[in-house]
Symmetry: C2
Subunit: 348 residues, 2 copies
């Protein structure tokens, strides 16, 4: 039942790689002691780091390559001439069955392009989606697509809904996640035609989803639904708008606490409570976006993250692997096609 | 030079109308004592309210109508059968020159539909846009479109950029506002084709705008640019996402301050400073979205606002009128067509 968890690691992706990566794996090891790592990258830089971490070194195997995908490389160029890069070799390891999943903090576009070509899509899925989760007033919710597809049609969104359902069951541990389609709500604006078509396909196709219907932008942080489904353009803007607003609020608050001596004393007294809020909204806690719909587990860590953030991304990959998320997406798609052969969500 | 400022008021729009409206006008009068109001609505309800406000009554004229646009009315239905509603008569007053602008807290879709038909577009503008402003880390910025157009083409966005430029000069008092086109930044995602086309039109057309280029979602609250240009779908989602995130953050913080006695004492000490943050991010302060591009000033107040919010929306209308925003948009469009006849931004 439980084969050993092996994760392929692109050690050269991210602003502070490979140091941040190795430190992250050390933290990840504390949480998942039985996981093993296939590390791809420059062994001249990785080996000395591992030499200082005997316990971690015991679960790691380093595969040397001197090439890496640069942050500003075009995906098409990385795909063409990056066959010996740490990122590509880590993905190849998943395809070849040497690892169950891959984690990289490198170039998002290159990672997506390589993963699509090397791993290919799950049967019935037309396009991959980037999914992640975030804090809400009611707990945590998942959202997809966060940037894999600028343009989406109704069928893509229905497939995202199915993948989001499995993602929320797997990563958030929810039994029957509610799913909302992001739209604008004003009466004059019923939103894009493809949104109404997607809603109709889910409702009329009798899909086995807990479909809430349309939601608006302010429903996301309110936690009105467990899974927010949207196109990659809107999802990317919404996610970054939330990050920006959180920083704005934190900045205003910092300024306020520094505005007088009394306020500073107040801050000192409330510091532990405020620290809890900071932890609850810490972007590192929500690091690790999954590329859903691929025939393999691919998790993207933020490039600017630190060891704590990278460890969380590795944790997401381990969760997805242990919970066999892709098997479940496959099963769900079969269940859907059986329940609603007319819905054509699995017509690929 | 300065003809008297007269604003037509739809007294029946908004959750707490007409009481909230009359209270709002009283506050507005304190800030702009020389403004006058043409109030449309049920005189049986309005007159008793005004009777208690002698000073305000002196600058108001009530035009009775028993009809009002309901919140759930379809724009097309309101347009067809709402000719005697308070909203429609207030817009008619602007068309007929009895008032310089109109403020309503009623049904957004109906207001937009009626305003388009009655006032028509400014020459050279194809579509109206909803514009508003919001707090950022660097001060305040403007954004449009916030929901008038779900689908936009490059030419629409260029026109929005021009209108946003004038809006920021007028309402924010900026001399040379920087303008950004909202996009997604990852390398693999260069965004919608029409965004690249709009950027090329502004750059290559040599438009007299301080064009920053593309921005991403987190640039909005950071205040990277003074004017954010986007389509109505994305703008609406982004704005509501920001509102939701601010509420989330405030909720977390409230919970934190209530989590222990020490934290509560800290809150009491820091209360004045926190109150300043609350004021700075108070949605009522940013109430009043302008319908830009129409041949008349139309300001939409949030339907759920109170007197303070409504007074701010009236203040926005007065600002726009005094600064002759529409004359300036006309001049700017002429300047643009003269500077870049090939840009075809004024081809309507």
């Amino acid at each position: 039942m439980s084969s050993p968890v092996i994760i392929a690691i692109d050690a050269m992706g991210g602003d502070d790689a490979p140091g941040m990566v190795i430190d992250g794996l050390k933290l990840a090891q504390q949480r998942a002691p039985d996981a093993r790592y296939l590390i791809f990258g420059d062994s001249a830089r990785i080996d000395p780091l591992l030499a200082r971490q005997a316990e971690l070194a015991g679960v790691c195997e380093v595969r040397h390559t001197s090439e890496a995908v640069s942050n500003d490389a075009k995906p098409s160029a990385a795909l063409r001439s990056g066959r010996q890069t740490s990122m590509r070799l880590a993905i190849d390891a998943v395809r070849d069955g040497h690892a169950g999943g891959v984690v990289s903090a490198g170039n998002t576009g290159a990672l997506m392009a390589m993963a699509k070509v090397v791993l290919r899509m799950l049967p019935g899925i037309h396009r991959p989606a980037i999914g992640s989760f975030f804090p809400t007033l009611r707990g945590e919710s998942a959202m997809l697509d966060l940037g894999a597809n600028v343009e989406c049609d109704a069928e893509n969104l229905v497939q995202f809904a199915i993948m989001g359902d499995v993602f929320a069951r797997t990563v958030l541990g929810l039994a029957n996640p509610s799913i909302g389609l992001l739209n604008v709500g004003a009466e004059e604006l019923k939103g894009h035609e493809y949104l109404r078509a997607a809603a109709a396909m889910i409702r009329d196709g009798n899909l086995p989803l807990n479909f809430h219907g349309f939601i608006e932008g302010d429903d996301i942080a309110a936690g009105t639904v467990d899974v927010v489904v949207t196109d990659g353009f809107t999802g990317n803007v919404a996610l970054k708008m939330a990050e920006g607003t959180a920083r704005l609020y934190a900045g205003f608050l910092r300024g306020a606490f520094e505005s007088s001596i009394v306020a500073r004393i107040g801050y000192v007294l409330a510091r532990r409570a405020i620290e809890k809020v900071r932890q609850r909204t810490d972007p590192r806690r929500y690091n690790g976006a999954m590329f859903l719909g691929l025939n393999g587990i691919v998790v993207k860590s933020h490039g600017g993250t630190d060891a704590i953030g990278f460890a969380n991304a590795v944790g997401v990959a381990i969760d997805l692997l242990r919970n066999r998320v892709n098997d479940r997406i496959r099963t769900e798609l079969e269940r859907v096609t059986a329940a609603a052969p007319g819905a054509q969500v699995a017509s690929a």
